[in-house]
């Protein structure tokens, strides 16, 4: 990081150009979210009578309080708030458990080699290519048989098991770059599977664990299909409530309040990215994904 010899070879005008290009791109990347934020401050009528994209005429800050605690989905007029907790109740445990299991599995596959490890790793990794629409009906049968249909626990189970495809992939690829010498030393000291994991591997892991947590958190938080199929009314995740706000056919969609709800629902993932982002890069720099 200290020796950035490549950039030193850049002439001054080159660096200026780089600044212009990268900041222009940055602004362009912001536009879609900016449109949502601006709409969240416009009234429904203003949007219905004008255009979808525009500057607020009257700043409708009340959209936010309405989105948070007032609007109604069917008879329950609680706003987004309880649904945010539902999402958290699924996302947080599923993220933590799937990350830990993925870390142990990745460690076992990469450093503790065992018979059939390549095969099982290949199979688990192939799972990332299996679209979740295809898994919907099989999961219904599984949830019925284990008695977890219409429970948040059922969703946690699904996201944990499915999530292991990604978490195992990420962690295994990271642990592969841990020198075998370290492992040998540990083994000579007589350290077992768990001792080695906790003493040597885990302290080296924060970067990749953060990457994995960010990935899992955003995917589970933003998931809709399972969330709406495997829950009932008041247990629904926040994505379902968001779409519930989008009165589909017979009404003017409430774009103002809807946009405010979108911003609120996106806050947790945005914050995770903002705070985690720093570590995300640090994690990757340490050779995370190879």
């Amino acid at each position: 990081m200290l020796e950035r010899a490549t950039s030193d070879t850049m002439p001054a005008w080159g660096r200026l150009l780089a600044h212009v290009v990268v900041w222009a791109l940055g602004l362009a990347f912001l536009v879609p979210f900016l449109v949502v934020v601006l709409n969240s401050l416009r009234t429904a009528q203003e949007i219905a009578q004008g255009s979808m994209i525009g500057w607020p005429e009257n700043w409708a800050f009340l959209n936010y309080s309405e989105a948070w605690s007032e609007f109604c989905v069917a008879q329950t007029c609680t706003g987004l708030q309880p649904f945010m907790w539902n999402s958290a109740a699924v996302t947080i445990p599923a993220t933590i458990v799937s990350t830990l299991l993925g870390a142990v599995a990745g460690y076992a596959i990469s450093l503790w080699r065992f018979r059939g490890d390549t095969w099982i790793f290949g199979l688990v990794t192939l799972g990332i290519f299996l679209p979740q629409q295809v898994r919907l009906i099989p999961w219904t049968f599984v949830l019925r048989d284990i008695g977890l249909i219409n429970t948040l626990t059922g969703l946690v189970v699904i996201h944990t098991i499915q999530g292991m495809s990604f978490t195992t992939l990420f962690c295994r690829n990271y642990y592969v770059s841990i020198p075998q010498d370290l492992m040998k030393a540990a083994r000579i000291d007589g350290a077992g599977f768990f001792r080695t994991f906790f003493r040597i591997v885990l302290p080296l892991s924060p970067p990749i664990l953060i990457v994995t947590v960010i990935w899992q958190f955003t995917h589970i938080w933003n998931e809709f299909l399972y969330g709406v199929t495997f829950t009932n009314g008041s247990q629904q995740p926040v994505t379902a409530a968001l779409i519930g706000l989008n009165a589909a056919i017979a009404d003017v969609p409430q774009y103002g309040v809807q946009s405010a709800a979108v911003v609120l629902a996106a806050l947790p993932t945005l914050l995770v990215y903002l705070f985690g982002g720093k570590y995300f890069l640090r994690g990757l720099t340490a050779g995370a994904v190879k």
Partner: protein, 426 residues
């Protein structure tokens, strides 16, 4: 909890032995579990109002809305059926009622329907859809006409026109007039698949309701290849040429400001568009509502209806709830309340719409329905999944939406493709 459970098991056993529910089931406090898509807007308000009525009669109302597309609601329903726990009733419409009632047992509502003398006040096509195998197992809630013509007042003024077109020839004349007078797009539209299908069905039903019945509802091969279907495609091409090519996949409501401003002239939509216009802050004198053009000069009604299907449950309280719900949705005053909230018209053709709370458009549509039923000119909507099961509907709409979006396809090619799509989906 425990006592309710035990009682319901007991009553369920009794119910199984004796088909007529009798006094025993009546003793339980009626409870209804329901799933629907109606989570917000006037749909949400209407179902909530219905729930209040249910509670007023001592029932326990447990509605859980499934937001999103109809497929999301169906996925939920499938999951509940698989887990052996179907809702007491759920939103379902058209031929899907018959299809789904094959995968899980439904309630036989014949006695309740007969007691209400309901069958004779419901359009025969509609009644047929809700009694698969000859037994009532579902009930329609409300009716919409999909071939409603909305005219922009300002576009009419621009074109110096005051006559409402009643045939497709007059429609075309007015379109030319508007175009010449500087209305950039004589036809307003949305970009969703259903929008394209809806225009086709309005045209074909207007050209010949009997061919529509044969071709679209009965999938008669000869009718599907008939000159009328070809003429409908030619008319659809005309309409497509008059639409803003830039709508992409936007909802039709996005373009209503331009429609009202007179940049777009004529909108072929369901009756619900009236509510959308009014909720968007526009006034009743910004637009004119009229029945869709019909070439034989007699009323044609392309029918769309929302409905609830009732799933068999053993619990006495749910059975009592189903009976109460069925009785409620057949009542004229409940249908009046429901339609006045959503802007639809009542299922019953004998409801009096002269009272307060009805718009001129609703009164006209209800009258047209009655007249169209009497002369067998009421047909079922294709675009809104009333005419065919979803698999065939989707295959047909594929052809229609491609035809609208691709000007290189000729009406003859389209007729051929429509036939092929039907054959491959069957």
């Amino acid at each position: 909890m425990m006592s309710v459970h035990r009682r319901s098991v007991l009553a369920g056993a009794v119910g199984l032995m004796a088909a007529p529910l009798g006094a025993r089931a009546q003793a339980a406090k009626p409870r209804l579990t329901a799933i629907s898509q109606w989570s917000a807007g006037s749909d949400g308000a209407a179902i909530t109002a219905l729930g209040k009525k249910f509670e007023e009669r001592g029932g326990v109302w447990q509605h859980s809305p499934v937001p999103g597309f109809t497929t999301d609601m169906m996925n939920k329903l499938r999951a509940q059926i698989i887990s052996g726990d179907p809702p007491a009733c759920s939103q379902l419409k058209g031929p899907e009622i018959a299809a789904w009632s094959k995968i899980a047992p439904t309630v036989n509502l014949d006695a309740t329907v007969a007691a209400a003398g309901y069958e004779k006040v419901v359009a025969p096509d509609l009644a047929r859809l809700h009694k698969p195998g000859g037994k009532w197992s579902a009930l329609p809630l409300q009716v919409y006409r999909t071939n409603t013509l909305f005219l922009s007042k300002r576009a009419m003024d621009k074109a110096k026109a005051d006559k409402i077109p009643t045939t497709w020839a007059q429609f075309n004349e007015l379109g030319e007039k508007m175009k010449a007078a500087g209305v950039p797009y004589p036809v307003a539209n949305g970009g969703a698949r259903a929008d394209d299908g809806q225009k086709f069905e309005a045209v074909l039903a207007g050209i010949s309701p009997s061919v529509y019945r044969k071709a679209i509802m009965e999938l008669d091969d000869k009718a599907l290849a008939s000159p009328e279907v070809r003429a409908a495609f030619a008319q659809l091409r005309k309409i497509a040429d008059w639409m803003d090519p830039n709508t992409a996949a936007q909802h039709f409501s996005v373009f209503l400001p331009r429609f009202v401003a007179g940049e777009m002239g004529m909108l072929i939509q369901g009756g619900w568009a009236q509510g959308v216009l009014l909720n968007g802050g526009f006034k009743l004198d910004d637009f004119i509502i009229a029945p869709g053009p019909t070439d034989n000069g007699k009323p044609v009604f392309v029918l769309n209806a929302d409905a609830f299907i009732f799933w068999q449950r053993k619990e006495a309280d749910l059975q009592a709830g189903q009976k109460l719900m069925a009785e409620l949705v057949m009542m004229p005053e409940i249908q009046t309340m429901y339609s006045q909230i959503t802007g639809s018209i009542p299922v019953r053709t004998d409801v009096n719409l002269s009272g307060a709370g009805w718009s001129a458009g609703q009164v006209e549509a209800a009258r047209t329905l009655k007249e169209a039923v009497a002369i067998n000119q009421s047909v079922l909507s294709l675009a809104h999944n009333m005419a065919q099961e979803n698999g065939i509907t989707a295959a047909m709409i594929d052809v229609l939406t491609e035809f609208v979006k691709n000007k290189a396809i000729t009406p003859d090619q389209a007729v051929k493709r429509l036939g092929e799509a039907v054959a491959s989906a069957r």
